[in-house]
Symmetry: C2
Subunit: 393 residues, 2 copies
Amino acid sequence: MDPLAMVPQVVLMGPGPSLVHPATLRAMAAPTLGHLDPRFLAIMDETVARLREVFETANRLTLPVSGTGTAGMETALANVVEPGDRVVVVVAGYFGQRMVEMARRLGAEVDVVEVAWGHAADVEAVAAALRRGRAPKALAVVHAETSTGVLQPLREIAAQAHEVGALVVVDAVTSLGGVPVEVDATGLDVCYSGSQKCLSCPPGLAPVTVSPRALETMERRRHDVYSWYLDLRLVARYWGQERFYHHTAPVNMVYALRQALELIREEGLVARFERHRQVARALWAGLEAMGLRLAVGEPGLRIPSLTTVWVPEGVEDAPIRQTLLHEHGIEIGGGLGPWKGRVWRIGTMGESARLRYVIQLLAALGASLRRAGVRVDVGAALAAAGSVGQAAT
Amino acid sequence: MDPLAMVPQVVLMGPGPSLVHPATLRAMAAPTLGHLDPRFLAIMDETVARLREVFETANRLTLPVSGTGTAGMETALANVVEPGDRVVVVVAGYFGQRMVEMARRLGAEVDVVEVAWGHAADVEAVAAALRRGRAPKALAVVHAETSTGVLQPLREIAAQAHEVGALVVVDAVTSLGGVPVEVDATGLDVCYSGSQKCLSCPPGLAPVTVSPRALETMERRRHDVYSWYLDLRLVARYWGQERFYHHTAPVNMVYALRQALELIREEGLVARFERHRQVARALWAGLEAMGLRLAVGEPGLRIPSLTTVWVPEGVEDAPIRQTLLHEHGIEIGGGLGPWKGRVWRIGTMGESARLRYVIQLLAALGASLRRAGVRVDVGAALAAAGSVGQAAT
């Protein structure tokens, strides 16, 4: 059977993957080159140069790890943390909790700053945790918590960490390429992302960047990194000019990432961030005009690329999402952990951050809710979204 | 610039990646689906079912790890080995040595059975190592050592390991899909591969299969696996019917693997193995008729998918390979470790295992060597290859 026949075009508005531009899909289907072919090495170099642009960093050690965003998280923690190190983790949702679990497995003594779901971390509480007990090796935080829809106050948290000499490890999986991360200006030491969110590349690569300070710490490690595959000192020698053989890069995935980054460069970061903000505002206006309630009350805390909205009282989560997917060809996500069944997660990431998709979604969601017996005002939703989002196309 | 313009079609006859069938490249470029979309879940299930066929196993726990072949090696070792475990590793080349390094990082007490490069392991020596000291948790061996071109006596080694109750961990990166591995019949407990060799899929996935016995051992672990990303108990819950969220599968890479496995199924494993043998015999006959010397003397020890041939006395390795790549559009590999500069490594894997490519390579290599002043008989090489390889097209 033709494999394409199994794969319809779905408007991806879940928590990732996002829509991939046809040019990126085409690039991925280019003939596979040998991973040491000089023409592929040139593509690797270009990819790294463009990753630096999107991370807004001068960090020499910047590369895509050959795994998904979760591999990025593990790479960041495994290279920084040594057994017995004290690590402070801000846990404001599902992915913060995952960092705790990983750091624990790596032998760290983990101190958690617990933040209620849907809220931003209290910088004072973070500062207090950093100063409690012996000096922490690192502070880890998820910038855009995909499980809650809250953007954490990165700059303030990073400043606190630096005051006590801790390295700042940041998960920018859902923010990079859609929301300013500004690795150098914000003072991040290790920052990672995934290819399939605001970069709009298929899943499979995890861009990572490491500050000179963090690199120095890695070079002074007492123990080898448990993982040979994710040991950045080895991976860096492969992606660097030495081309030291480590593993075979996922050649075609790198083609795709390079192309996705090229599209970002053509658009420009400033315009891209503005598009994400504009589209998100249209979505928020539409959802609220429809009568739904956003899970993150304060607009300033909301992630422009990932919106959480409460499932209306008396409505079953899954059937609505199934209707959207199978009848309307639109994917949105359900909740995770304590918010399972309680929220919908709507992604407006990268190529998916277009007003036309917001309009499609509002219409489809409105129709599905009405059919489920919920009184929602679809006309008002479309009008509100359209008027707010006009600038974003 | 059009990304395709940077990527010419190269005949990939190095140690991997191998040529990818156009249908597989096309499948990879299908629209990205959500990783929990039921249509993608069906593709995951099909991929797993076909992986079982190519591994020739009934193992329930069979899946592609979201990383390259090296991630497969690490997954296999990290899930089996616990700190303090005794592990016997057969080191007959570069990749066996890599297993030692990984096992050491995982805290194992590693016992090495050293085998001279270019030779097969002495089964008696393996048996003796297994019985020396306390009972080993596992024996690890590379089936087809890509650095030397030697196929190791898997069945005999596995039998010895089972006699002392050790789990058998096998690297089938260069053999799976081109050379019989027969996981169940051979008695392998954990076996892994890479997508980019005899499976002829782009690099980026590492098929892994685990026997019920090994799974039981994993379930009785005293320590968590250091790696959360590669923890098979978690990954299995994602690939299994539970669909427990662990990471976002590399959706388009899975499309490609599924399609590559479909092509293998259409050809049939028996026919595919025979094609690899036939093409290899043609290559060997051609190289020898040209006056070159194969690095593995005994034909029965040679890997049908990866041939090592000595660089002729007085010839510089790299310029010849550059001529092949840039003038003839053919990639072959250089040597690793002690064989760097001394051998060429010629892959006839998957889609690259075709008589026409062997003929192209022999003609190009012959021409390049003659230009470098080496007297080689290209006519004899082509005649020998053609007559031996006639059955393989």
